[in-house]
């Protein structure tokens, strides 16, 4: 288990160790969250590395990662805890067979920890030898509002109330990372308990650094061209601008194709890696892509 970072710079270094290049604002939020023991609420477009942050935190801090993927209809039974009904039934039957059915006793016995199935939120509150785990609540906007209410208790006090048993409280609060793609607004009551951060697209400089770290062996010139092209695409009037994940996929694809520089034909063949809407692809195919390439070449020559 690694100790928690003691300054913003240390946080940035820690993330960089796992090849996650965070900007100053993100490092500040993470540092504060770790220091103050507060959940982090990350919002941003798809593919800017929100989920990755939780994974990197768990890897660099040597903590267990517990992931709760949200979906519509997620309920307490699959997010917090469930009773092992089959085992409970058998216990009841056995008690019957012995002929010593004392109701109060039976209730107490079958609603004990022995019959409890722990789901992610409850698991995250358990003590762990490696330190408190990282709890990733992914794509919270996919659930309905009803589920957010369950989270309030967990996020505010790091405890869960099981009516039959009482309250389970974490000895050490887990590191909570919540992500949202903003397909709906999350209630303010929940946001209030967290540190909020909007994860934006990275700057050209940082994106180039990311590409070079994540796709080792990529030609320096190609990586710069790729980033310039993607950054230009984000300024185009597209329905869905490519995220960092797409940039990395594209860089990987072009390396596989042994490309050393962008050319209109390759770009137009591989656009499907970057853009996921047919209208966007149609807009870019042909002359527009060549124009963008020509312009970025001119910019690069001017910069040299």
């Amino acid at each position: 288990m690694t100790k928690l970072p003691t300054s913003i710079d240390a946080t940035q270094d820690l993330l960089a160790k796992a090849d996650y290049l965070a900007d100053r604002s993100l490092a500040t939020v993470l540092f504060l969250a770790l220091r103050m023991g507060r959940p982090i609420f990350l919002e941003g477009e798809a593919g800017v590395g929100k989920t990755e942050i939780a994974k990197v935190l768990s890897a660099t801090l040597g903590r267990k990662l517990i992931r709760l993927q949200c979906y519509e209809g997620l309920d307490v039974g699959s997010a917090v805890y469930e009773w092992n009904y089959a085992a409970q039934m058998i216990a009841i039957r056995l008690a019957e067979a012995e002929g010593t059915v004392d109701r109060a006793r039976l209730t107490h016995d079958i609603f004990s920890e022995e019959f409890l199935i722990k789901r992610p939120l409850l698991q995250a509150l358990e003590p762990d030898t490696g330190g408190a785990p990282v709890l990733l609540i992914d794509e919270l906007d996919r659930t309905d509002e009803a589920f957010e209410a369950f989270l309030l208790e967990v996020l505010a006090d790091f405890q869960v109330t099981v009516p039959e048993m009482g309250t389970v409280k974490a000895a050490q609060p887990p590191i909570v990372v919540i992500t949202s793609n903003r397909t709906r607004e999350i209630h303010d009551a929940l946001k209030r308990r967290c540190l909020y951060h909007w994860v934006d697209y990275p700057s050209a400089e940082r994106e180039t650094a990311i590409v070079r770290t994540k796709v080792p062996g990529i030609a320096a010139r190609l990586s710069e061209e790729i980033v310039r092209f993607v950054q230009a695409l984000r300024r185009e009037d597209l329905f869905k601008a490519p995220g960092v994940a797409e940039t990395l996929d594209w860089a990987g694809a072009l390396t596989e194709l042994d490309a050393v520089a962008l050319d209109p034909a390759t770009v137009s063949d591989t656009l499907g890696v970057l853009l996921k809407y047919q209208d966007d692809i149609a807009r870019l195919q042909g002359s527009r892509a060549s124009e963008l390439i020509a312009r970025l070449r001119a910019d690069m020559t001017a910069a040299e």
């Binding site: 604002s25 500040t28 220091r35 309905d144």
Partner: protein
């Protein structure tokens, strides 16, 4: 100032830091950010945890604690600039007290600057003469934009008329359509066994009798999204429709309303004001292009791009209220309608022009839009509004395959 002093946390410094934060938080609150006392305590804690380093760090530390929505970032940015600008803060206070004092070179206005300035210097401004303030605002308006920024005066309709219509709208049984969710709720006729309740119930008899309890899918109201045309040709109807939308917003959760003429404005928040007059006044204040021209394609494109993914989730029903009289129709209108249609569960087009018997969709805009709506209905009086409410309450799978044109032509 605080932002530049190194972290030496003796009591005196912390005290002054806390004071500054409290004052800063109050300014943010007045500028419209929901900053509670809890957030202030967090901010002080965060600053002492991280240690006050550079101005940039202070910025991001406070940002991390005080900003809870992306749209608040701009307001925060401005407030921070103004509040923590060295000496500038004092200068500005001085210049406000003495209007004729020479200021520095004028900076180009930044977004949200006006709001923050108002919030920060509210107390001081109050001391200035009220008339002066008003003339200032009027001057600002005339200089603002080249576009036709005509504000609609709501007082034009006779009071009795409004009152009657409003009362009628209030009496309507509001849409109660529901969609099935994947969340399971107790249901006598459900298919799934609810082990938790079953077991609890059987404990009562000591396990002799197992009374099966069941679960079925739950139901809830889907989000409703209204896109209301406020261009000149819709003039006489918009106000009544706004009353309608206000009533709907009041009655159910998750209603998003947008107004469009030449551009799109989100008025969901304004309509959430309880008092209908205040709500409508807020709407009319928010819309710069009241009774101007129509650019349906542009507005729909803006909606599709900026809002569709945020408000059309979870089976939303879209009410598009427009007469469809678009002058410059091209392929874009059909394209944007198609995209809108494909991103929602049900698209209902409400058209006041349908009141004319024998209305034929001759206008090119109308013809371009018709193939992409699930339902096409008139809305021009209280009867048709009531009919709409009934239609919205209809159960059923509600996604009717496409072509409303046939129904209209047949009718």
């Amino acid at each position: 100032m605080t932002s530049d002093s190194r972290s030496e946390t003796n009591d005196k410094d912390t005290g002054r830091l806390a004071d500054n934060i409290v004052y800063f938080a109050r300014a943010l609150r007045r500028a419209g950010l929901p900053v509670g006392p809890g957030a202030v305590i967090d901010a002080v804690e965060a600053l002492s945890a991280a240690g006050v380093g550079t101005r940039d760090d202070v910025y991001w530390i406070l940002h991390a604690v005080l900003v809870k929505r992306r749209e608040h970032a701009a307001v925060f940015d401005q407030a921070f600039r103004i509040f923590f600008r060295r000496r500038g803060y004092l200068d500005q206070l001085m210049s406000l007290m003495m209007p004729q004092a020479p200021g520095g070179p004028p900076e180009p206005p930044r977004p949200a600057a006006a709001r923050v300035n108002d919030a920060l210097f509210e107390g001081v401004k109050d001391r200035l003469k009220r008339e002066e303030r008003e003339t200032e605002i009027v001057a600002k308006l005339t200089a603002s934009d080249a576009e036709l920024l005509q504000k609609k005066d709501f007082a034009q309709m006779s009071a009795a008329e409004i009152e009657a219509a409003r009362a009628a709208i209030r009496r309507m049984v509001l849409p109660l359509d529901t969609v099935r969710t994947r969340r399971l709720v107790p249901d006598r006729r459900g298919r799934r066994i609810d082990m938790r309740r079953t077991l609890r119930a059987s404990l009562a008899s000591g396990g002799d009798l197992i009374d099966l309890k069941t679960l079925g899918p739950g139901e809830r109201m889907p989000p409703l999204v209204a896109l209301l045309d406020v261009s000149g040709s819709m003039g006489e109807y918009t106000r009544l429709f706004l009353h309608f939308l206000h009533a709907v917003t009041d009655a159910r959760k998750r209603v998003h309303s947008f107004l469009f003429g030449t551009r799109l404005t989100n008025v969901s928040r304004a309509l959430r004001t309880k008092d209908p007059d205040a709500a409508l006044a807020a709407c009319s204040a928010a819309v710069p292009d009241w009774s101007g021209g129509t650019r349906i394609a542009t507005s729909l494109a803006a909606f599709n791009k900026q809002w569709a993914r945020r408000v059309l989730g979870q089976g939303a029903v879209v009410l598009l209220i427009t007469d469809g009289l678009e002058r410059d129709t091209d392929a874009r209108l059909a394209f944007e309608m198609d995209r809108l249609h494909r991103s929602c569960r049900r698209l209902v087009w409400l058209n006041p022009l349908l009141r004319f018997d024998g209305f034929e969709p001759k206008a090119r805009g109308v013809r371009a839009m018709l193939p992409h709506v699930d339902e096409f209905r008139p809305i021009h009086n209280l009867d048709s509004m009531a009919a709409l409410v009934r239609a919205l309450s209809e159960h059923g799978d509600t996604r009717r395959p496409g072509d409303a044109r046939r129904r209209v032509l047949a009718a």
